[in-house]
């Protein structure tokens, strides 16, 4: 399953997508520690799979929460994307 966390507003689309079919294969969960803001948590989803998810209280303000990792110019690789060895995490912006 592709789980899209985020929103669309007047300024654009701000979604973090987690491919849970890939995520479920990982037992390390590096993404949780990699995010400096602590956006990620490990949950048991509706199909009883242990996967990463974006914490509820961050889902409607991703544009701002992710801003420190996304400078306007010379953007470095995103820590969460880099930490995920299975390439299960993508950002829409």
């Amino acid at each position: 399953m592709k789980a899209n966390y985020g929103y669309t507003d007047g300024s654009g689309e701000f979604y973090i997508t987690i491919d849970t079919d890939l995520c479920v294969k990982c037992s390390e969960h590096w993404c949780v520690d990699a995010c400096p803001v602590g956006l990620f948590e490990i949950i048991v989803d509706d199909y009883d799979d242990e996967v990463a998810a974006i914490k509820d209280d961050h889902r409607k303000k991703l544009k701002y929460d992710c801003a420190p990792c996304k400078p306007v110019s010379g953007r470095p690789p995103l820590p969460c994307v880099q930490a995920c060895t299975l390439c299960a995490i993508t950002h829409s912006w």
């Binding site: 592709k2 899209n4 507003d9 007047g10």
Partner: protein, 296 residues
Amino acid sequence: MTTDTAKEFWRWKEYNWHDSAADPKSAEIITAGVDVGSVSSQAVVLLDGRLYAFASMRTGSNSPDSAKKAMNWALENTGLTIADLQFTVGTGYGRVNVPFANRAITEIACHARGGNFMYGPTVRTILDMGGQDCKAILCDENGKVTNFLMNDKCAAGTGRGMEVFADLLGVPIEEVGELSLDVDEEPPPVSSTCVVFAKSEAASLLREGWSKKRVLASYCSAMAHRVVSLLQRIGVVKDFAITGGIAKNRGVVVRLERELNIKALQSKYDAQIAGALGAALFAKAMVEKQRKAVPQ
């Protein structure tokens, strides 16, 4: 005396139903689902996986109370009580506050499962237009979610937005859809970014002399347009179905179909109970799983 200004045009009819031909005493598995949404609550009871009873009512200020009221109303005149339910799944906005639920499951998974039951295994895209959010869900032939997208950032494109418009224009909510289709020419949509902006824009249009029908057409069109952009982001795969209260608004459904160039599937079941129905189906699967784990 009741005047037009005192009427609550947004207030939709609450209802319950049960299959009087079915005998709950002969059922092996009695399961239930409760969908406590931000605007409405539904309760569904299944006998061996077949729809037996349901109720749909407004959610009050207290989620546990709303869940209990909805379930008790669904069970009215059935001879069953909440204690007779072998497994209950809570879903929706208030799913963690259903006191008699054995488990909580997100409404995304429940709508996919319920949609699969209601529209058949060919359904791949389900649009759930709820009270305060809107979800585009892709699922497989078993009703398992493969992709989803949700917009709950604001009320535009949701049932609550439609209620606000019904009240503003003094048109009963059940009549909004048909009236909005009774226009000679499709007007341009009002703002679809925010329901507060849309409301003030509609007030200006009325002052300019627009008819109520034209304003409703404009809002239904805006709502359809907003939802289409959500669907297009996820990609619409045939067959397509709509669940939630707005599925009953032909004005939005027809415009959605027009914009997407795809027909929405029809079902004999009430589109508003899809979430609770999916929850009850999950509950049945869990009872079966438990029985397999512990042979009788």
